[in-house]
């Protein structure tokens, strides 16, 4: 029995110790009924960087509206760690909805998690606000009226970079996508659009997720005599590829074109990344007064420059707050009505939430990684900006007119 007592004490001690850490303490508000926003985000595991970005944005947003709140009510964020696993994501989301009574879910990192959680939202009658998820299906085949996508989707990113390449002197492209849904979908979208622009795809390959040695792919790409290589590789894989391609001197011969050009990659790869181009959903270097202010506030709070999903999530939260204010209530149906066909003045430019598939129409960016002595790592330099109408697909499809 003494052993069992010990076990109990040990477990209780462990729980107590974690509860005691102030960073994890949940804010409790005395009265007024806070507006609760649930974030079932990947905070641990291989995709933690995306969940952490969402959380950082939410932390800044809470700080910015402190005192004001929304409709005079305080805003409470409830974070849950999904570890990037869809089964856990659904369980956590269900807990947020049924136990904590949140009416808004956001911060979901992976497409697989988003597809699983979003599919449950009509049943739960809560709004799913995507600020990270790229899967085209979310606003096409899998769409429902409780789903809103504030961010640029995968096909929209591919569209922006294709528009840029269409005008470039480059003619021949190799497409390299990780062998899973996102990698294959991205390569598919890119291939369709680049062939429509009368350019050639001279080779395609799908390395498995977690590839550590890209030598054979690098040889193939070199042999193909392509002008550019389109890369849809997730975080770490992209880092490894770029470093190896740099060592082989490939980056000078064949221009790397990233599906998304993230700060996270630029920090990890460093100078070897300079010269790579790609699309960006939110480049922090956008020169608008609103964005300059935001970057400064963000840097003051977190000590780093905002990455793509920091910006996109912040914009989502700000827009959601604006819509709730407009509706005058946090009632889900009223908020949906208020959001449809509404406009928002985002960090990088104007946003419009079209009613037909709840995809936010917004600017598309083609960027290049450049060195700037003012920053400790390469930064995205904007090469071209495309208006929302040109980079947003036809309603409820993944196709462009």
């Amino acid at each position: 029995m003494r052993r069992r007592d010990f076990l109990q004490v040990a477990v209780a001690g462990g729980v107590g110790a974690t509860l005691g850490v102030p960073a994890f303490l949940r804010r409790t508000w005395a009265q007024g009924g806070p507006i609760k926003i649930g974030m079932p985000a990947a905070l641990s595991g291989a995709y933690a960087q995306y969940g952490i970005q969402a959380k950082r944005a939410a932390e800044l947003f809470s700080k910015d509206i402190k005192g004001k709140g929304i409709l005079g009510r305080p805003v409470e964020f409830i974070y849950e760690d999904t570890a990037g696993d869809p089964a856990t994501a659904v369980r956590k989301a269900q807990k947020l909805v049924e136990k904590d009574g949140v009416k808004f879910l956001t911060g979901v990192a992976l497409s697989s998690e988003a597809l699983a959680v979003s599919a449950k939202c009509p049943e739960w009658k809560v709004i799913f606000m995507s600020t990270i998820n790229g899967a085209g299906a979310l606003t096409a085949k899998a769409w429902h009226r409780y789903f809103f996508r504030v961010n640029t989707s995968g096909p929209m990113g591919a569209r922006a970079i294709s528009l840029y390449l269409a005008e470039s002197p480059m003619k021949r492209f190799f497409a390299l996508g990780s062998d899973y849904a996102w990698g294959r979908d991205s390569v598919g979208s890119f291939t369709t659009q680049i062939t429509a622009a009368k350019k050639d795809i001279v080779g395609t390959d799908y390395p498995p997720v977690g590839t550590k040695d890209f030598a054979s792919y690098i040889a193939k790409i070199r042999q193909s005599r392509a002008d550019g290589v389109y890369l849809a590789l997730p975080g770490q894989d992209a880092t490894i590829y770029l470093k190896q391609a740099h060592q082989f001197g490939l980056n000078r011969e064949v221009k790397p074109i990233m599906e998304i050009l993230e700060l996270e990659n630029m920090k990890a790869v460093g100078d070897a990344m300079v010269g790579a181009i790609g699309s960006s959903r939110y480049p922090f270097t956008v020169d608008t007064p609103r964005n300059r202010e935001f970057v400064k506030r963000f840097h003051d709070l977190h000590g780093v420059y905002p990455d793509m999903f920091d910006g996109e999530t912040y914009e989502g939260l700000e827009w959601l707050a604006q819509v709730i204010t407009k509706a005058g209530t946090d009632d889900v149906d009223k908020v949906i009505e208020a959001w449809e066909d509404s406009s928002y003045d985002g960090l990088e430019g104007p946003f419009f939430m079209r009613k037909c598939d709840h995809q936010a129409v917004q600017l598309g960016f083609a960027v290049e990684a450049v060195k700037d002595p003012k920053y400790p790592h390469p930064i995205p330099k904007i090469l071209a900006t495309y208006p929302g109408e040109k980079v947003t697909p036809k309603c409820r499809t993944e196709e462009f007119s």
Partner: protein, 310 residues
């Protein structure tokens, strides 16, 4: 025997009254716990009663989940049809896998089951036309109980379906391990060589129990898909097989009821701690280590030992 019967009856009554006692989210959580409990229980059939440690049990849970998801989504059949399909598919696939794997014992058996499970995982991951690849299949509906019958969309209705499946599976499994067939399994566990020297071939016994365990795991998976609304390759990954082993060990190997409780404890710890810290896995690991060291028979094994002592 009477004491365990009283406990069993009490548990049954508790299961029946739960929907009126628990809040909505607690009932959802309990449904989840029961589904994973069934999975852990099925693993205990081969692990606890036959001494075969499988590192690939998640594959059968996953097969059940995919079969059920496809039946519900593409053919809109009642839930029990999906359950049957899930259990059947798991059993059918387990037959050749078991036939090969049971040729080996110990660590080689574990490695073979792991290899087959990873193979099946890769199929689920790559066969995008059918399984949706890494995105999985989302939006699986909870259809009716039978054609034109009552719907199962309410949390209470689905809870009762899950509870009934788990109780029936447990009763059936208890009957199996208590039968002469079950005794033979335990004889194999205790001393396979002696079993052979008595003139019996252990392999058919092992194969049958392996398939049976897969069928129950498939049933758990088939319940999971409509409950959670999706199926994805993660439920077939080796990590989930490993978690199954932890659930069985926490609850008590070779007790059938224990692994159900073990699964509940395992998920509850994860559920509570992960709300507070992203380092919850450290605590799950610590609890596991403590249980292995201080409660060698797991929760149920220890409780029985204490009970026997008076």
């Amino acid at each position: 025997m009477t004491r365990s019967r009283v406990l069993g009856l009490a548990a049954l009554v508790a299961l029946v009254v739960m929907p009126w006692v628990l809040a909505r989210h607690q009932l959802s959580l309990l449904t989840d716990l029961l589904i994973f409990g069934l999975f852990a229980m099925s693993l205990d059939l081969i692990m606890g009663y036959t001494g075969m440690v499988s590192f690939g049990h998640a594959a059968y849970f996953g097969l059940g989940a995919y079969a059920s998801a496809l039946v519900l989504l593409d053919f809109a059949q009642p839930v029990p049809v999906a359950l049957l399909a899930g259990a059947l598919l798991a059993g059918v696939v387990a037959l050749p896998v078991g036939w090969f794997s049971t040729r080996a014992t110990g660590i080689y058996f574990a490695m073979l089951t792991l290899a087959f499970a990873q193979l099946l995982y890769t199929v689920a991951y790559k066969w995008r036309d059918v399984t949706g690849g890494s995105d999985g299949i989302a939006g699986v509906p909870k259809t009716a109980l039978f054609w034109g019958g009552p719907g199962l969309a309410s949390p209470q209705a689905f809870y009762f379906l899950v509870a009934a499946c788990v109780v029936l599976s447990l009763v059936l499994s208890l009957a199996v391990v208590g039968s002469p067939f079950g005794r033979a399994l335990q004889a194999i566990r205790e001393n396979e060589r002696r079993f052979t020297s008595l003139g019996r071939d252990p392999r058919p016994f092992k194969l049958v129990v392996f398939v049976l365990a897969a069928v129950f795991a498939g049933l758990a998976g088939a319940l999971f898909a409509p409950f959670r609304g999706f199926a994805s390759p993660e439920v077939m990954f080796w990590v989930f097989s490993g978690q199954g082993l932890m659930m069985v060990i926490i609850g008590g190997i070779g007790t059938l009821v224990g692994p159900i409780l073990g699964a509940m404890v395992f998920i509850l710890i994860q559920e509570v701690l992960s709300s507070y810290t992203e380092h919850w896995m450290i605590f799950t690991g610590a609890v596991f280590v403590l249980i292995v060291i201080f409660l060698p028979g797991g929760l149920v094994g220890t409780a029985r030992r204490l009970g026997a002592r008076g």
